[in-house]
């Protein structure tokens, strides 16, 4: 096994140069990574491979002897995942090492067929495993990214706005699933306590479909708000959704529902003992004066 380490350390510069050249034909992506950076990464990886093969066999990639190499590769592929490399490009990074490495091995064992085959086999085994490590790290980083974005989306999409003293509105955009309902419910209830609001308007204009599950989630939120002493009004029920609700047999009889947010707001104002009156001294435009005259 130390043959491999020896070959790499002896021909390090040449292997690295050829490695980088073979990558430049396929996946270098000069727009995303500088030549100097790539050069440094390649050197680090070659040294880690030398250190790895000296201590343990290539099949034991998960053993402690390969810890530095694994970490290095995971780091590189994680940073590539964030930079926007494709999975093929990340995997090819390690696999491109095969050709220059095999060339060096062939030069060394030009006389002994058997040794040549053995060394090439262990080298290919090693590089395949390293490629798997990079792919795994790449996927993990992407998944982390997706998860974080999901979380951000969740927080972004559930604002609670105060319409008036004691009246809150909660415009819901997008489909309500269990996880979102939980966030919506918590946000709403926290805001009810924080602003001491007696009325909460849940606006579902932005909810594309209402099925039994969504309705159940809504009812839960409304019940929880009622337990705390706040009253909920659902607004933004589109005609299509009203039909669906009736066809599905969802019972919304205990809940006040309105077609428009404005209607719900008016109702909340009325219930809290307020009336909206048009001020008589409001400025009027010449055009509306014209209409007023014509009505006379």
């Amino acid at each position: 096994m130390n043959d491999l380490a020896e070959i790499i350390s002896q021909n390090e510069d040449r292997i690295r140069a050829e490695w980088i050249r073979s990558m430049s034909n396929t996946v270098q992506r000069a727009d995303l990574i500088s030549k100097a950076e790539l050069d440094e990464q390649c050197r680090d990886i070659l040294r880690a491979i030398v250190a790895g093969v000296k201590t343990s066999r290539p099949t034991e990639i998960s053993s402690s002897g390969w810890a530095t190499g694994r970490e290095l590769l995971s780091e590189i592929s994680a940073s590539r995942a964030r930079q926007g490399f494709s999975p093929v490009e990340v995997a090819t990074f390690v696999l491109s090492l095969k050709q220059p490495l095999f060339a060096a091995i062939r030069e060394k064992f030009v006389s002994s067929q058997e040794k040549l085959f053995d060394t090439i086999w262990s080298a290919t085994e090693l590089l395949d495993r390293l490629a798997l490590v990079t792919t795994e790290a790449y996927m993990a980083t992407r998944e982390e990214l997706i998860l974080r974005q999901q979380q951000e989306l969740l927080e972004l999409s559930t604002p609670v706005v105060k319409l008036w003293d004691g009246i809150l509105a909660l415009p819901i955009i997008g489909t309500l699933d269990s996880a979102r309902t939980q966030v919506v419910m918590e946000n709403l209830l926290e805001s009810v306590v924080a602003t001491n609001s007696k009325y909460a308007i849940i606006d579902i204009t932005g909810v594309p479909t209402v099925d039994t599950l969504v309705a159940q989630h809504l009812l839960k939120t409304i019940t929880a708000a009622r337990l705390m002493g706040a009253e909920c009004i659902i607004s933004g029920v589109r005609p299509q959704i009203a039909q669906t609700i009736v066809h599905l047999g969802i019972n919304l009889e205990d809940v006040v529902t309105k077609a428009k947010l404005a209607d719900a707001f008016a109702l909340a104002l009325q219930r809290s003992g307020r009336t909206v009156v048009r001020s008589s001294s409001a400025p009027t435009s010449p055009i509306s004066n014209l209409f007023a005259k014509r009505e006379d």
Partner: protein, 125 residues
């Protein structure tokens, strides 16, 4: 054994639950409330649970029970100041406390009870 105090405010009973409820305490409270209502002729019961942070189905049923018992004895019950987490837990447990009236704060609860009392007076005169 500690006990939850039942305070008298005019024709109302004021109960603030400041400690973690356990089952024995809840049963004791039921006894006390029913006794005080009949003794003092209270027309309203206000239960403040703003410092209650943990509920289970037993406590939820106790609240519903106290409300039902008070109604039998001729008093309205208002539960005030429920924490969001408590409300969510009760809903998840399937206890929506249908017969219990609720309010956001003690003040709002008082208003509700006094309003109900005044309306009842108006109706009787």
């Amino acid at each position: 054994m500690d006990r939850i105090p039942v305070l008298r405010m005019g024709s109302l009973l004021l109960i603030t639950i400041q400690v973690d409820m356990h089952d024995k305490l809840a049963l004791q409270l039921q006894d006390d409330v029913t006794e005080r209502i009949s003794e003092w002729g209270a027309t309203g019961v206000l239960i403040d649970i703003s410092s209650l942070e943990i509920v289970d189905s037993f406590i939820g049923r106790m609240l519903a029970n106290i409300a039902a018992m008070s109604r039998v004895l001729g008093a309205d019950t208002v539960v005030v100041g429920m924490q969001p987490a408590v409300a969510i837990t009760l809903v998840e447990l399937g206890m929506s406390l249908p017969g219990v009236r609720t309010a956001l704060s003690v003040e709002a609860g008082m208003e509700l009870l006094y309003g109900a009392a005044t309306r009842a007076d108006d109706a009787s005169t």
